[in-house]
């Protein structure tokens, strides 16, 4: 049933074909002092080759955990459950050794803070050589050199810097090196976890351009995690909005941004600051405790449109006429779902305050 909702099969505009990555009802939990933390709790999405999916949400909503969970880079005490397929391989049932082989070669990751991600004692050339040797046994020295220089060229770093140490580069250059190091193996799928947060605006634009061009250069699928909605609008084909461990709305980036269905998406967009902003908007309250999330829709304690039913039952995921998927009672009601008087009554103010406190 879920499969039918996957975008690739809905016959969307660009390149049809088998999805590279499919997650279905994926859960990534880790143990906390008072019970498991449901950092990712039932997430479904898929990515086609060369597609860029943006993942947005507040800090602590589980987006980074989701990114790492896809690659299996999880701390002790964390566990995954559900379905996660990469080109038909079930990633969740892989043995550690097989997972290592896939990582880097087929699944790549770009991190938030480029300054500390390169081994300070290894030259850039050694980073490239190590990565290539681990994944392609018996690769020749000349081939390593050629591939490394090619990666540097694509990233716009002069070939003379190949034998330099990481500390000899600026932050933006190091992030480009990280990207080059990730892409030298041509992975089919890359997670970029806030790749520009630690960088200044000019460098940010440069990095986004590079990531955006990947599709043309390598046909890489990208999961771009960010809290910067501007980046999503600029670089992504589709966007997924995450709140409290769940994807509350996912669809075509343009569609989601111009006509947000979920109240949280709308509020998130309203709180973005831009040149045309006249007043500052923000969402009241703080993201919920993921050990014991609120009942019903997790967003209901902070939601301005909350109805009685929102606190009682979790909204089902529904495909809209525009092809997005959304899980929101209010969106359902506006699209014609019949709710009883009691169900659609506005949620009492006190309840908001109480839930807020919790």
């Amino acid at each position: 049933m879920n499969i039918d909702l996957v975008e690739g099969r809905d016959g969307e505009a660009s390149a049809p074909g088998e999805p590279v990555l499919e997650a279905e009802d994926l859960r990534v939990w880790y143990s906390g002092p008072s019970g498991p933390v449901r950092a990712v709790d039932g997430v479904s999405f898929s990515l086609r080759p060369g597609e860029i999916l943006g993942l947005v949400g507040e800090s602590g909503c589980g987006k980074s955990t989701l990114g790492r969970g896809l690659l299996g880079l999880l701390p002790d005490g964390a566990a995954r459950d559900g379905v996660l397929n990469f080109r038909g391989t079930d990633l969740l049932s892989l043995k550690a050794k097989q997972a290592y082989a896939l990582r880097g070669g087929s699944l790549g990751m770009i991190f938030q803070e480029p300054l500390t991600r390169l081994n300070p004692l290894m030259r850039i050339s050694e980073h490239f050589a190590e990565t290539l040797k681990v994944h392609e046994k018996g690769i020749s020295k000349a081939e390593i050199e050629r591939r490394s220089l090619e990666a540097l060229r694509v990233m716009g770093i002069p070939p003379t810097r190949l034998r330099a140490y990481p500390h000899e580069f600026s932050g933006g250059m190091r992030q480009r090196l990280m990207i080059g190091l990730t892409l030298v193996l041509r992975p089919a799928f890359v997670v970029a976890d806030e790749p520009t947060t630690a960088l200044d605006v000019l460098v940010e634009a440069q990095i986004i351009r590079i990531l955006h061009d990947l599709r043309a250069t390598y046909d890489t699928s990208l999961l771009l995690i960010t809290h910067n909605l501007g980046i999503i609008a600029e670089a992504c084909d589709r966007v997924a909005v995450m709140y409290a461990g769940k994807i509350v709305e996912i669809g075509d980036a343009r569609e989601v941004f111009t006509r947000p269905r979920h109240s949280y998406t709308r509020e998130l967009l309203r709180s973005t600051i831009s040149l045309s902003t006249t007043g500052l908007n923000y969402i009241e309250g703080a993201p919920p405790d993921l050990t014991d999330p609120p009942s019903g829709c997790h967003f209901h304690p902070r939601c301005p449109d909350a109805m009685a039913i929102c606190a009682q039952r979790e909204p089902a995921v529904r495909t809209t006429d525009a092809g997005s998927r959304v899980a929101c009672w209010d969106a359902d009601r506006r699209d014609g779902l019949a709710l009883s008087e009691a169900e659609s009554a506005p949620l009492e103010r006190e309840e908001i305050a109480v839930a807020d406190e919790a």
Binding site: W29, P33, G35, P36, A316
Partner: protein
């Protein structure tokens, strides 16, 4: 206190039991020290009962739990009284060093400037010096002038540990001084003295127990070394493990193992326990070092509400 216990309990696996074990053994020695007159069957320098000499080098168990040594002393009593000496010396030296090192570190870190630089330089120089040599020089001087009692021994050790308190406190102070909450306090007009007392001191004392415990372990070893070199506490003043071991070494080579064995075990046990306690405390105040215990969980069956319906 309950919060501390909680963090200890949440620490992963064996690390927790090591800490608990360390605390328990330390407590046993503290009990020995406090209750020595009631636990030890004989005095620390008692070699006779009403004029009748105790046997020389009696084997353990032959009426004397740990045997007797070549000076007709009961080894068990010496071990028990030795814990009193050890804890006295440790406590005094740690307190002396703390009294000097902590305020010095606070002032140095808070004032900064050339005072700070000079103090740091001198302290680093002293710190780089071999600790035992420093203690040797001090007890060499003090033995000449004051004699070989508990207090001179404690004073000899004090000098070694001042730089360590100084370092930790000074570095914490410098870090705290730059912290936003101190800046905020200054912004609302708090004077330097208020800031130091209210905002820094509490922050700084957190790290001191760790240093104190680890220093205590180290002090015990240094005290024993001084005893071995004949520079520590004189045997007539108090029972000291290091001295007892060095006296028992020759006997040990000829098969009479017990006069040196039991005090050596006491030293090893107490230093080990104190180190475990110190490391445990360190992991408690430095969460980065700690590994939380993972409570296993199972994914519950999916409920129907999560099923996707179109």
């Amino acid at each position: 206190m309950r919060g501390l216990w909680r963090t200890i309990w949440d620490t992963k696996g064996v690390a927790r039991w090591v800490l608990v074990g360390g605390v328990l053994v330390t407590l046993v020695f503290v009990a020995f020290a406090l209750l020595a007159p009631w636990i030890a069957p004989y005095g620390f320098a008692q070699n006779n009962i009403d004029g009748t000499k105790l046997p020389k080098l009696a084997e353990p168990g032959s009426g004397y739990l740990f045997g007797t040594n070549d000076q007709f002393y009961d080894v068990f009593s010496r071990v028990v009284w030795g814990s009193r000496t050890a804890l006295q010396v440790i406590a005094l030296s740690v307190v002396f060093a703390g009294i000097i090192g902590v305020p010095l570190g606070l002032v140095s870190g808070f004032l900064g400037g050339w005072v700070d630089r000079l103090l740091v330089f001198v302290m680093d120089a002293v710190y780089s010096f071999p600790a035992l040599l420093l203690a040797i020089v001090f007890s060499f001087l003090l033995n000449d002038k004051v004699g070989g009692g508990v207090i001179p021994a404690a004073l000899s050790l004090t000098a070694i540990y001042i730089p360590q308190y100084f370092r930790v406190v000074r570095n914490t102070t410098v870090a705290a001084r730059e912290a936003t909450y101190v800046e905020a306090a200054r912004a609302i007009g708090a004077g330097p003295f208020t800031i130091m007392r209210k905002y820094l001191f509490n922050n700084v004392v957190q790290s001191v127990p760790v240093v104190a415990t680890l220093n205590a372990a180290d002090a015990l070893g240094t005290l024993a070394a001084l005893g071995f070199l004949g520079l520590g506490i004189q045997p007539t003043e108090a029972a000291e493990w290091g001295y007892d071991i060095s006296r028992g070494l020759d006997d040990a080579q000829s098969g009479v193992w017990w006069p040196a064995f039991f005090p050596a075990m006491a030293i090893i046990l107490l230093i080990t326990s104190l180190t475990f306690v110190g490391e445990g405390l360190n992991e408690t105040v430095n969460p980065a070092l700690r590994r939380r215990r993972h409570r296993p969980f199972r994914f519950p069956q999916r409920d129907s509400a999560q099923e996707v319906s179109s």
